[in-house]
Structures are given as C-alpha cells and as structure tokens.
C-alpha cells in the first residue's frame, strides 16, 4: 500500500498536467478526488484555480500541499491521456508507483504537432472560414497566406515573449497589414472576408468553452477568470486589426 505522501504526489501531478494543458478546473478536482479515493483515502479536499492547486488529506496523518501553475498551454491529447491513466487507477489495475512513473513520463514528453503542421492547419482553417462566411474562391489563396503566416508568427512570438496577449496583438497586426497589401496589389478582393478568415485561428475557443463549463460546475473563480482571459484575447486581436484599419 502506498503512503499518503506518494498518493498526494500522484494527485498533484495529474492535476497539474490537466490544468497546464487546458483542461477544465472541475475536471482537475474530479480527477484528484477519484485517484485519492481509488488508493483508499476517503477525506481529500482540493481547491483549484487556473494559477494554482491546493490539495489536502484529512485523517490521522494530515497532509497539505500547494502547487503553483505558471505556464499554461493547450494540449488536449495530454488531458485525454491523464484521463485514461485516472480511469485505470479507478478500476484498480494500476499500482501507485507505476502510476507515478507514467505521469512523470507524460509530464516530460512534448507530444505536440510540429509548428509546420500547425501552421498548415491554421491556413486550412482560415480558408474554410472564408468560404463559410460566403467569401469568394478568388480570395482563397490570399487567405491561406495571411492566415498561415499570422498563426506562424503567433507561435514564434509565444515561444519568446512571455507577456500575455502580446503575441495575439502583433499577429493580428501582421494579418491586417498583409491583407491590406494583398488587396491593394489586386491579389485579393474583399479585405473584410480575408481578415475575418485569417484571424479565426487566434480566436480563444478553448477559453470560452472551459469558462462556460467551469461556471456550470460552480467554479465561479475559475469560470470568471477564464472568461476574462477569453475577452482580453479577443480584445487584443481586435485592437491589432483596428490599428491597421485606422490607417488603411
């Protein structure tokens, strides 16, 4: 039987991976409580916000630990894999030391699509949105270029600049400028449709969805702060485009 210290470590690591990779707050609490219960701890308490986790175990040997979450990104595959591990723990088929090793491995691997694949996906999404918003096929090539380059810049900036919302602002600025140039050169025709299509990959879709789901589960602090994050990201994109439009 594993001791409380090890169980706490497993719970916190699982929670940390979910929270850092874009999972909902209630999923973090749920997973930690489930894991603790599966290893025979009845009274566990957790308090989770987007920036930190507090986890406590009651009983004869009390234990409270805090973990700070400073970096956050989006990797739903990792969230999904932690979910699988937690299911296996719940069914009783995974001993504690093995679970800890699995989680540590998962925490260290990168498991991401490469920047090239992501850029291509962003370009394809931009093209899709152009047609969905009744744009003409003549603008398809320009939107591929602006959408792809804009998202690529967002990825690069996100790696080097740690200031939040800055990458979105600069990328939107680049998208607006490129679109305006392409339209002026006669390569693209409808500036509005090109810009709308190209900025869509930057839209904070995950923040919107998780904010609503957290509010529904009663996590008011997390829901509101994620809502604020979504709003500020949208505002940064809007400001970038507005800056270009006011000159154009």
């Amino acid at each position: 039987m594993a001791d409380n210290r090890e169980i706490t470590q497993i719970c916190l690591l699982a929670g940390k991976i979910i929270l850092q990779n874009g999972g909902e707050t209630y999923r973090v609490e749920d997973t930690m409580d489930r894991i603790a219960a599966a290893y025979g701890i009845e009274n566990s308490h957790s308090f989770v916000t987007p920036t930190g986790i507090i986890f406590a175990i009651d009983g004869s040997s009390q234990l409270t630990r805090l973990i700070r979450i400073s970096e956050r990104s989006t990797n739903l595959e990792k969230v999904s894999l932690v979910n699988d591990i937690s299911r296996r723990i719940g069914s009783g088929s995974l001993p504690a030391d093995e679970a800890l090793t699995l989680l540590q491995e998962l925490d260290e691997t990168r498991r991401e699509y490469s920047a090239i694949v992501k850029t291509a996906a962003a370009a394809a999404a931009s093209g899709g949105f152009l047609i969905m918003y009744d744009g003409s096929w003549g603008d398809f090539f320009p939107v591929l270029v602006t959408g792809g380059l804009g998202f690529w810049l967002y990825l690069v900036l996100g790696r080097f600049v740690t200031v939040k919302f800055f990458a979105e602002f600069i990328s939107a600025l680049l998208i607006g400028t490129l679109a305006a140039l392409l339209v002026r050169q006669g390569i693209g025709s409808d500036l509005d449709k090109i810009v709308i299509g190209s900025v869509m990959p930057l839209v904070p879709g995950l923040a919107i969805t998780t904010a609503v789901r957290d509010l529904m589960a009663g996590h008011l602090v997390s829901g509101l702060s994620k809502g604020a994050e979504a709003f500020l990201t949208a505002f940064a994109i809007g400001a970038g485009i507005a800056a270009v439009l006011s000159f154009y």
């Binding site: 990797n75 999904s80 699988d84 093209g127 879709g205 969805t209 949208a234 809007g238």
Partner: protein, 145 residues
Amino acid sequence: MMLLEQLAMSFTASAAFGILFNSPRDRLLQCGITGMAGWLVYVYAMRLTLDAIPATLLAAIAVTALSQLFSKLYRTPIIVFSVSGIIPLVPGGVAYDAMRNAVQDNYELAVELAVKAFMLSGAIAIGLFFSEVLNRMIRSFGNKP
C-alpha cells in the same frame, strides 16, 4: 452544391482546429464531424429564416449533444470534441464588423453590432449549458429503475 461546399469547409476548419488544440490524432475525424454537424444545423436554421441568435443556440445544442455521444463512445474528455465543434459558431464576423465601425467613428452601429456579438456568444454558452442539463436529466432518470 453550395451546401456540399459548406459542409466540406466546416469539416476542414473544425478538424484543423483540432490540430491547433493538439487533440489526439485518432480523434480529429470526430472533431471535424462535430463541427460539420453544428454548422449544418446553423445553415439550415438560417435558411428557415430564423434569426442568427436562435440558429446559433440550436447549433450549439447539437454540437454539445454530439460531443457527449462521442465522449461516451471513445472515453475521451468532452472538451476535445466540443471545443472544435463550437469554433465555427463563434461570431468572428460580427465582432469584426463592430470593430470596423468603431474605428470609422460609426459608434451607434458599432455598439449595435457589439451587442449582437455578445448575444451570439451568450447563445453559444446557453447551448452548451442546456445540452449538459438535458444530459444530466436523462442520466438521472435512467438511474432510477
């Protein structure tokens, strides 16, 4: 023909968003299908001369219901599917028009459009909410023999 084009493009956009969110490789197909189904509902509701807000609401409900189904079938967290599916419904175009008018000093129109974008986002939220509530009700009824 127009409809086919819309379906293909919404599938592509949603699956591509799956890649941007690092969704598992073998779930990208379902991400695309969820987005496509939501957009199909939206386009049809708009054709039946519904307003954009109820159309978005219906589409969001459809997306969440389908996401719940996929999440049960594949034992994957629901956000993997619902995030990609919701993206086509995000009122990017309306928000853009609002901002464009604000920059051109048409404040009245800008505020009008901004409120519309806000209402559309609200419709998405309510759709996510409503479908979840329905699901829980069905499940709790199912548990009582």
